[in-house]
């Protein structure tokens, strides 16, 4: 083997899977905070205030952005190699993939990235004060909950948000078990459990993110 720096396919995949598992954990925290708005807008505002002021979260958000960046960069590098590895395709090719959404990870990934930028523009940048439009409470504090509620009054935006979350759900369905497989954590005894847990995670997280805008739009809460 030559001595020049070399990051093997497996090394890149391991980084991707570790970052992916990190992002999966982040989504659970994000969903837990979002769900507060279904119970009480003040709780949600307190949660948002905590996230916006706690020093640990402030440092950690940059780690999170780094995690996103690594996941995306390695994902794109791996995908380009995959496209190049079959210069001429088949005339007739059956759907042989056993993990149905695995075929579309790069596409759902790109859509999630676009959604993420829009999402940051809608909420995070407003929260940071980089974009105006933050509603204020009666006492003059930031009313993040009202910002969310205002946005989810628009049917078109709710529909867009729900479609984006569903596409993210497809990404998550493959992601969970795939990360375990890449890290070598596949054992005949536990594999069905890991697969089931991954699918349950994808369904619960997707439904969780979908019901919040729908409940707000249809004024169920």
């Amino acid at each position: 083997m030559s001595n020049k720096p070399y990051y093997s396919s497996i090394t890149k995949k391991i980084v991707m899977s570790l970052m992916g598992l990190f992002l999966l954990t982040f989504l659970v925290v994000h969903l837990a905070l979002n769900s507060l708005i279904l119970f009480n807008k003040e709780w949600f505002n307190e949660g948002a205030h905590f996230m916006g002021t706690n020093w640990f979260i402030q440092v950690f958000q940059w780690v999170l952005f780094g995690g996103f960046a690594l996941h995306i960069v390695f994902g794109v590098i791996l995908q380009i190699k995959n496209w190049l590895s079959r210069p001429k395709g088949y005339k007739r090719r059956a759907a042989m993939e056993q993990s149905p959404f695995s075929k579309y990870m790069i596409y759902t990934g790109i859509i999630i990235l676009i959604f993420l930028v829009i999402h940051l523009g809608n909420f995070f940048f407003v929260k940071m004060g980089w974009i105006g439009g933050m509603p204020l409470t009666a006492s003059g504090g930031e009313d993040m909950g009202q910002l969310v509620i205002n946005l989810f009054q628009h049917g078109g935006y709710v529909a867009f948000y729900v479609v984006m979350i569903l596409l993210m759900g497809f990404h998550l369905d493959h992601a969970f078990q795939s990360a375990f497989q890449t890290l070598g954590l596949n054992h005949a005894t536990y594999w069905n459990f890991i697969n089931g847990l991954g699918r349950a995670y994808a369904i619960v997280v997707t439904l969780g993110f979908v019901i919040i805008p729908l409940f707000i739009y249809f004024k169920i809460v």
């Binding site: 497996i10 079959r86 395709g89």
Partner: protein, 246 residues
């Protein structure tokens, strides 16, 4: 049976290549797929045309030479079966059958349905062996091996290196092949001595040759004629992590 065939014809490695339609008649449903191609080739030779070039050897499903991509599947639509063991009764009378070579950058077409799979040999040369010292023949039972590992190693060693995993994978990844070859040694005491170097060298060679990356779609396992399990890929990943961490 009467069948319509759409076969990839390519005169040589740099020739353009195209699909050519053929009709074959009165094929026995008991004929193997290769025998059906033999009949077609006899007819082509009688007409003075170039017969369809294809790889084959043992015709018993154990050598790994046959390599046709039939109706969208490597080795055809029947599970756990090589092309030579595929029989025409698996097709419908009058059916149109599309036959293509394996498609992957490291498997260039030599002619028609024959591809150059020496990339697999290069991966084996990179580390798929144990160093043997000369001397007397050791006693087979001198090294204790537990039953479970012996079985798993044997399952991995069932890989015939046909390349169906690469052909099936949407990324043309060779991970199932490499994982089987790494596993068959990693599970046995004789292979443990060189395990770390083996996995690093074989993975490096696999990457260098231009195979794609595994994205855990598991098409390889579903299409492998020897049903090599994807748990071998997980073992390969574990071996690789272990080797890299020292």
């Amino acid at each position: 049976m009467d069948l319509k065939l759409k076969i990839w014809r390519q005169a040589g490695p740099t020739a353009k290549g195209q699909f050519v339609d053929y009709d074959v008649h009165n094929i026995s449903s008991d004929a193997s797929f290769l025998e059906m191609i033999d009949i077609l080739n006899d007819e082509l030779v009688e007409k003075g045309e170039d017969p369809v070039a294809f790889d084959h050897d043992c015709r018993e499903g154990i050598c790994g030479m046959c390599s046709m991509f039939i109706n969208g599947h490597p080795h055809g639509p029947e599970k756990a079966t090589t092309t030579c063991q595929l029989h025409m009764r698996k097709f419908k009378d009058g059916e149109t059958i599309t036959v293509e070579p394996w498609r992957a950058k490291p498997f260039p077409v030599i002619k028609d349905l024959i591809v150059d799979r020496s990339a697999f040999d290069e991966i084996i040369q990179a580390g798929g062996y144990t160093s043997a010292t000369t001397g007397g023949v050791p006693d087979a039972n001198a090294i204790p091996i537990n039953k479970e590992n012996a079985e798993l190693a044997m399952d991995a060693a069932a890989c015939i290196g046909c390349g169906a995993c690469v052909a099936a994978c949407k990324n043309a990844s060779a991970m199932l092949f490499v994982s089987a070859k790494v596993s068959q040694f990693a599970l046995l005491p004789q292979g443990k001595v060189e395990a770390k170097d083996r996995v690093k060298e074989m993975v490096a060679k696999m990457d260098e040759l231009g195979f794609g990356n595994c994205t855990n779609t598991y098409a390889c396992e579903a299409e492998c004629p020897k049903e090599i399990s994807i748990t071998n890929i997980a073992r390969l990943n574990r071996q690789f992590i272990g080797a890299k961490l020292g």
